[in-house]
């Protein structure tokens, strides 16, 4: 009886279901992706999948285009999101929570539904779908992910630091560039990562908002698995691996700079 109680109370026991979950749904799929990426359909080791990608101009172009779109989306979100977060955090709004809520509210609705609604809106006003609509849709979907982390860091910032900067002779602009901006860097980095990562891999938004005219890297992967049949799985796995590496690199740089931002960026 006592032994059973110890077993139940031990944290190690409680960790097991999670370990099992992680192994089954995170580690195993990753291993499978790597295995598939480096093998042919017969299961022999090969680099053919990667060579095929780098030799297909269209695939490489799509890859670069996707990166560019993701980068552009991130920049637009940052330019729109920072001021919004700044106003929410700095202004003595009686109800900053309501403002934050309004920004978060669209996320209650599934983003596919929102995208379809966006398509309908564009149609209603007779605006042609295409690259512009794609950027609009991406920014609309991912803006909250930029605003929230920035708002968080700004809100947690010690307001006496701003007063101290003023006190030492900094005008409004200098207070922003020398204190507020450097101190909000961690928020900016998480915002960038949270917008860039999903936009690099998205495909549904592109398909809906460009009527399949523009293909993103995510769509390539999806097609390899969806339409290509079993033969294409290895190729799809290689593409997935490339994307994983890109995303991994971004977050790696992000983390590094985040650590630096405490040391002295000025």
């Amino acid at each position: 009886m006592n032994k059973l109680a110890t077993l139940i109370n031990s944290r190690r026991t409680w960790a097991w279901p999670y370990v099992l979950f992680l192994v089954l749904f995170v580690v195993l799929p990753l291993v499978l992706i790597v295995v598939y990426a480096f093998t042919d359909p017969q299961g022999h080791f090969t680099l053919k999948n990667f060579i095929q990608f780098f030799n297909t101009t269209e695939a490489v172009n799509t890859f670069i285009y996707s990166l560019a779109i993701a980068l552009l989306t991130t920049i637009i979100c940052l330019l729109l999101g920072y001021p919004a977060a700044y106003i929410m955090a700095a202004a003595e709004l009686k109800t900053p929570a309501v403002m934050a809520m309004l920004f978060i509210l669209p996320m209650w609705i599934n983003f596919l539904l929102r995208t379809i609604a966006t398509v309908e809106l564009f149609n209603m006003f007779g605006i042609p779908l295409g690259e512009g609509a794609l950027l609009y849709g991406m920014c609309y979907d991912f803006l909250p992910f930029m605003i929230y982390p920035i708002y968080n860091t700004l809100q947690k910032m010690d307001k006496s630091l701003i007063e101290a900067a003023h006190d030492l002779g900094a005008n409004g602009r200098e207070v922003f560039t020398k204190v507020i901006l450097p101190l909000s860097m961690p928020g900016i980095y998480s915002g960038i990562i949270m917008v860039f990562m999903p936009t690099v891999s998205t495909f549904a938004i592109a398909e809906l908002l460009t009527r399949n005219k523009i293909t993103l890297f995510g769509s390539l992967i999806q097609r390899a698995f969806g339409e290509g049949g079993l033969q294409m799985w290895n190729y799809g796995a290689a593409l997935s691996l490339i994307m994983l590496i890109i995303i991994g690199l971004t977050s790696f740089f992000g983390n590094n700079e985040e650590a630096d931002s405490r040391g002295g960026i000025l």
């Binding site: 630091l161 900067a165 405490r262």
Partner: protein
Amino acid sequence: MQNTNYIIEVNNVSKQFEDGKFALDNVSLSVEKGEFVTILGPSGCGKTTLLRCIAGFQVATSGDILLKGEDITQTPPHKRPVNTVFQKYALFPHLNVFDNVAFGLKLKKLNKDTIVKKVKQALKTVGMTDYEYRDVDSLSGGQQQRVAIARAIVNQPEVLLLDEPLAALDLKMRKDMQLELKEMHKKLGITFIYVTHDQEEALTLSDRIVVMNEGRIQQIGTPTDIYNEPVNCFVADFIGESNILSATMIRDRRVAFCDKEFDCIDEGFGENAPVDVVVRPEDIYIWESKSSRDSIASIEAQQEDYDPDDRIPKGNFTKWYGIVQSSIFKGVHYEMTVLTDDGYEFMVQDYHEFRPGTRVGMLVKPEDIQVMKKERYIFNYFDGEVLKNGKVRFIDAEWDVSEDQLSPFQAGDKVQVRVPFKEVDLQDHEEEGTLSGEVHFILYKGNHYNLTIRTDEGNDIYVYTKDVWDKGDRVGIVINPESILLDKKE
């Protein structure tokens, strides 16, 4: 322009917050160049608001602030030649020690060599040489505070404002830093305006102390003035230990308290005027007395009192007698409470211990009796209005009043309401009162307490009571209808 000996002049400054409350109420203060002035008061007294108005973080609702005779009331903080040391240091976490200190100099676009020289000098002044490239987060509280001071003085401000800079440090560290601050002030020659709630710190550091309470300045003076001649009960109670007693000024240089008459040195209060007196516990002479309760009148009995060290002043002093109730050793002296034969409690400090139960005699020299004008006496005064239902409305509540007080008035009449301090009853359960409030201020007067009760609507009611309450206690307020007096309003 005005006398420019003053570096800072605060003229009739008030600051009203959005909720209508006054954080500063008509405050005036002049600070001379090179002075060390401390603004002292309990939390919420407006001291920080005053400092922030001088720094420019808050703008006064009315009145003006001059710096070297120049109006800076509306000047933004970055254009004022004053620097602030913040309570929680407010060091920039993304900059190292050097860059924190150099922040102001870099904004002034000084050349690099000058900056390096000045920063090193400032860090030397605060004893932080060799810490230039340390991360500020890696420093201890005391070190961070030093860096914060260096960051302010490196700009050579006309005035250095310090907002409770030592509040977050431990006692030992605080004592050391006090001495260092005093040294720095001497060396730098900069005017210091220092805010604290710690009266001991204020007494140690300042050339002058400004005592504040409830947004008003209570007294301005040197530490000795403030300690020896407090102008009112608040100051006397806030600074140091004190026995505060209700008294009557019989005539000039003669005051009565504890049912006895004493010589004193104060004049000009009028005859038979109600006053308060302060007797500091260390100013009371105490000795073991052979007298008994019934024989104190006998001069022989007094003369037989034991005084081997000849400590007790000889002469025609009024003496009084009591029994020691408790004695606590305080390191250098003993702190004793004595209950007098007439039922008053005194706190006495002496190097000799008199054990509880000992019968003692006490005397105080005339110059050690500080007489203060009584601010309020016997009655609370309120504006009231007679209502149709036969009640009277004042301090935001409706009260029953006796028939004969009410009869000369009609519904709708405005009246002056008087309520004696003694007749206000406090209830443990706030719902039992006609009105509820909180114990806001407590003053022990030897045999009773003077309480200030602040109602939830923000009105103050003064109460005399023998019951013990704590500050912040919630109480119900009841007033006996028979004791409410109504007068015609002029």
